[in-house]
């Protein structure tokens, strides 16, 4: 037995723990590439006003091909669209919309889905039956059909998209969390907490949820990618943000008809959105790899 003075254990600050955990991604090449892409776009979104050579909604010179010079001397690196707006600037500003609403919508979806999943998985019984039934009802709508109905009913706007995404994604998240909880609730440390008389919500949030964080973080990245695609698709269908604000999907649908002789107008937004989703998917794959090794 050691005979030392009482040493108060220094508790690591949660921030330090988070940083250490995040640094783990370095172990996966794929994850690093994904992280790089995402960080790139986040930087673009934040610095948009500084980076964009032109205001995004201002018609300058219609139908310019990539590389052409503007009357004012700057270059249209990616060309202009049929109304004369610089595509590069529109893409840069468009990233703001996407990177504002996608994480927001995903976060809200988790905010709703996690408690539902915890309650359904841990409490079982009637609570589980009702919640699972509700989830099944919502999930039985093909996703885009659901979006179309919702947006057709409440109208298209940024906040409505967040609401629609939350409504459509929460059941899926609930299912995943429920599955994880069903597995974790049989662990002995949960049983130990029950024998101590801990309240159910404390057990769900303190004992069970932290141990589900691995798969949930991976799912969050994947879901972010999927929400980006959804926002883009809604924009393509004309159900996204109202014009003239640049919305990558909307840009594609507006310029598709010119693709025969001026494909650059539609292609660059497609590349932009694909790269962002690729970033999230690679990041998710890297995180999954790392969490398996742990």
């Amino acid at each position: 037995m050691t005979d030392q003075a009482v040493s108060v254990p220094r508790r690591e600050s949660p921030l330090l723990r988070l940083a250490k955990g995040a640094a783990l991604i370095r172990e996966s090449a794929v994850g690093m590439i994904g992280l790089g892409i995402v960080v790139f776009w986040v930087a673009v979104a934040i610095l948009a006003p500084l980076l964009a050579p032109f205001p995004p909604n201002q018609p300058v010179m219609p139908m310019a091909t990539p590389g052409m010079a503007a009357p004012t001397g700057e270059t249209f690196w990616l060309g202009t669209d049929h109304l004369g707006r610089d595509i590069l600037s529109r893409i840069i500003h468009g990233s703001r919309q996407v990177l504002l609403y996608a994480p927001l919508a995903t976060f809200c979806a988790y905010l709703v889905g996690i408690p539902m999943g915890l309650a359904a998985g841990y409490r079982r019984g009637l609570v589980d039956d009702i919640l699972s039934f509700i989830a099944n009802v919502i999930l039985s709508f093909p996703v885009l059909v659901l979006y179309i109905i919702i947006i057709a009913t409440i109208g298209a706007s940024g906040s409505n998209i967040v609401i629609a995404v939350t409504f459509a994604s929460a059941p899926g998240i609930m299912r995943i969390v429920r599955g994880l909880v069903l597995d974790l609730r049989n662990r002995e440390y949960v049983f130990a907490a029950e024998t101590r008389g801990e309240t159910p919500w404390r057990i769900m949030l303190v004992e069970i949820l932290p141990n589900a964080r691995g798969p949930l973080i991976v799912d969050a990245c994947l879901r972010l990618g999927y929400v980006v695609i959804t926002i883009g698709t809604l924009g393509f269908l004309g159900l996204g943000l109202p014009p003239p604000d640049p919305d990558w999907g909307g840009m594609v649908s507006e310029t598709r008809q010119f693709a025969m002789f001026m494909p650059h107008m539609a292609i660059f937004p497609c590349i932009a959105i694909s790269s962002l989703v690729l970033g999230f998917n690679l990041l998710a794959d890297g995180l999954r790899e790392v969490s398996l090794r742990d």
Binding site: V6, P9, E188, T195, R196, G197, N211
Partner: protein, 703 residues
């Protein structure tokens, strides 16, 4: 294989200087080093050791199935004289299942869940021999009968999950024997099974060995099982064989300090917690990539001598006059075992005090709603699972009461009722003067909860992996209201870590940085955080290595003596129960069939179930003679228990119809010793002891 090879005359299997390593991202990790073994035809060798000693790796190497990252890096394996490295893939495939067969640890996981058992069995002869489907079916069916499975036709057509664990293992054995292999490898075949089922499987293996003259390699961590099944034994530690010889030589005249240490850890019939306590092996198993130079056991050995034992190049030396008995130790000849009296843990007398816990006719029934069509029609939709029936016993302070039984006996339900996770259907549970049978844990006061706590079974799962050890202990301290001030809580955390003999810096660590034994110590600290009067320990050491078991058990007893705690010790390990319990309660299918002091229960008169249990427990003592009693049949389903005496379907001493119709009365051969049986007092008195020690009471000593 051609007939010439099948009728080979030398040893069936020979391993020479075998070295096996695993290749991970961290580099090469040696798993088995310098392994030598010769197995004659018809012989049986046991490989015994604790986790990480490499015994299973050897079996996989013999089968040449080391997976993507394992490889044989040195030495050879000779099968019937031929170096196995010279076999082509196709030749190896023909050997497997045909000449060399294997039986695995977990039978349910080893059988394909989507294929009928018949088909899985028939595959073996169909792919190795040129026979028709009908022939294969007949052979498979016959083999099922040979392994004593009832109703072989039904078993041929069902899926693995539709039969019990013991039956599954018999099927796996049948599958291994179908092509009459020359070599049978058994990797912990009974670890996942109940003790009485295990006894049946062991007997079957013995019969087979005799009947088919199969050579066997038997891998286990249980020395008692090795004694019952093998002629020779190799004791392994951290990848090397430390001692090898015949069973008598190694068990009675052991030379290596590790072997001696192992035997000191096992509760043999001669050990007793007061007079001759268990002696744990100090220290820890070295990590595979951090083995010490020279003798791997050195750091933990009481006879370690610097300069001698840590010199490289340690090999096996033979014991003179005992051919075949080898030891890997440089100093074995200098060791005088007679004068070696290591100190045991947890010794000392304990006087039991007042009654702390009193259970009176407690019943716990679960309701099952049956939604099948048959139930709807007959109107009987609600059925009862009688998990606990008429449980009555007392426990005093500073006393250890053991609850013994196999799976389905109701001990986990009982623990749940005690802890308040379930309420009793009927009866009383009086704890510290208050009846808690109807009080759920949510309704109990923090002091009450802290006063009765639990130590759990699975150390790897018992701590939350996401929080530090210190924070988990602090939470418990706060919850039970022991301390409120932050500094005092920290202080108490430190005190608890001291109590379980863990370094204080562990408070900052996460569970995955601790070993199994260390985690279990934290579990014990957690249970004692609230100064409990009673601790319920549910199989607290079953998942630990033998050497760690002794240490943790000793720790528990130490703490119990200091705090005069009542210990309710739930276990299926009868040897351990005999060692540390004061009173024993034997349960079967929800009923108490026998209870009394340890001496009373372990000596005749017995309840027939206790008798069979005692006969089934393997004992690693060559001087012990056991009467062999094998229970027929399966454990009945808890939803459909037999009428009358619940044990009557399997009882070897069944009298007749009375056992099926009437509940057995409680007989008291001596006051306080209760047996629930229809046998008359005279018949009970006539019972002979199941376990008979040799004349000398002294433990096996080396010469």
């Amino acid at each position: 294989m051609d007939s010439q090879a099948k009728s080979f005359d030398g040893p069936v299997l020979e391993c020479r200087d075998l070295c096996i390593s695993y290749f991970t991202r961290a580099g090469e990790i040696p798993a088995v080093i310098d392994f030598n073994m010769t197995l004659e035809q018809g012989g049986s060798i046991g490989l015994v050791g604790e986790s990480g000693c490499g015994k299973s790796t050897v079996a996989m190497a013999i089968m040449r199935y080391l997976g993507g990252n394992g490889a044989i890096v040195g030495g050879q394996v000779f099968y019937k004289g031929r170096d196995m490295a010279t076999f082509s893939e196709e030749e190896l495939r023909q050997l497997r299942g045909n000449e060399i067969a294997m039986v695995y640890q977990e039978p349910m996981a080893s059988l394909n869940p989507s294929m009928t058992l018949g088909r899985q069995l028939m595959e073996v002869p169909l792919c190795h021999e040129n026979i028709s489907e009908e022939e294969a079916y007949k052979r498979a069916r016959q083999m099922l009968a040979d392994v004593n499975l009832p109703d072989p036709d039904r078993i041929m057509s069902v899926y693995p999950h539709q039969i019990s664990g013991g039956q599954q293992q018999r099927v796996v054995i049948a599958m291994a024997l179908l092509s009459n292999p020359s070599l049978l490898l058994l990797d912990e075949p009974t670890t996942a099974l109940d003790v009485t089922v295990e006894a049946g499987i062991i007997e079957l293996i013995g019969q087979i060995a005799e009947k088919f003259n199969t050579s066997m390699v038997y891998i286990s961590h249980n020395l008692g099982l090795i004694l019952e099944t093998c002629d020779r034994v190799n004791v392994m530690y951290s990848g090397v064989v430390v001692e090898s010889g015949t069973v008598t030589e190694v068990f009675d005249h052991m030379r290596h300090p590790y072997t001696k240490g192992l035997f000191g850890c096992i509760p043999l019939p001669g050990a007793s917690k007061t007079a001759r306590p268990l002696v744990p092996i100090r220290g820890q198993l070295p990590l595979p990539h951090q083995r010490p130079p020279g003798c791997y056991f050195g750091p933990r050995c009481d006879f370690f001598q610097k300069g001698v034992c840590d010199r490289e190049g340690l090999g096996m030396t033979s014991v003179p006059n005992e051919p075949g008995h080898d030891v890997r130790c440089r100093r074995w000849q200098e060791i005088d075992w007679d004068s070696y009296h290591p100190e045991g843990v947890g010794a000392g007398e304990m006087e039991p005090g007042e009654v702390v816990l009193s259970i009176d006719d407690m019943k716990k029934y679960y309701e099952l709603t049956d939604n099948s069509i048959a139930a709807l029609i007959s109107g009987k939709r609600v059925r009862y699972v009688k998990a606990n029936e008429s449980i009555s016993f007392d426990a005093r302070s500073c006393q250890t009461v053991a609850i013994v039984g196999e799976s389905g006996c109701g001990k986990s339900t009982f623990a749940k009722v005690l802890m308040g996770l379930e309420t009793a259907t009927d009866g009383k549970v009086v704890f510290n003067g208050k009846d808690i049978s109807q009080e759920e844990v949510q309704k109990r006061t923090p002091e009450q909860i802290g006063s009765m706590q639990m130590v759990f079974q699975n150390p790897f799962d018992t701590l939350n992996p996401s929080h530090t050890v210190g924070s988990q202990l602090a939470r418990v301290i706060r919850k039970f209201g022991v301390e409120k001030n932050k500094d005092r809580i920290e202080q108490r955390v430190m005190e608890l870590l001291d109590l379980v003999k863990l370094p204080r810096e562990f408070a900052r660590r996460r569970p995955r940085q601790l070993s199994g034994g260390q985690k279990q110590r934290v579990g014990i600290a957690r249970a004692f955080a609230g100064n409990p009067t009673t601790v319920v320990a549910d199989e607290p050491v079953s998942a630990l290595d033998v050497s760690v078991q002794a240490a943790v058990t000793g720790l528990l007893m130490d703490i119990q003596k200091t705090y005069r705690t009542t210990l309710i010790f739930i276990s299926h390990d009868l040897s351990l129960v005999r060692y540390l319990a004061d009173r024993v309660v034997v349960m079967y299918l929800g009923h108490i069939v026998e209870q009394g002091t340890t001496d009373e229960v372990f000596a005749p008169p017995y309840h027939p179930y206790t008798e069979a249990l005692l006969s089934a427990v393997p004992i690693a003592d060559t001087s012990v003679e056991k009467t062999r009693i094998i229970l027929e049949g399966n454990l009945p389903s808890v939803t459909n228990p037999p009428s009358g005496c619940v044990f009557n379907t399997r009882c070897p001493r069944k009298i007749g119809e009375i056992c099926e119709t009437q509940d057995p009365p409680v007989v008291e051969p001596t006051p306080g010793h209760q047996i629930a049986c229809h046998l008359s007092r005279e018949e009970l008195a006539r019972m002979k002891p199941v376990i008979v020690m040799a004349e000398e009471a002294s433990p096996p000593a080396a010469e």
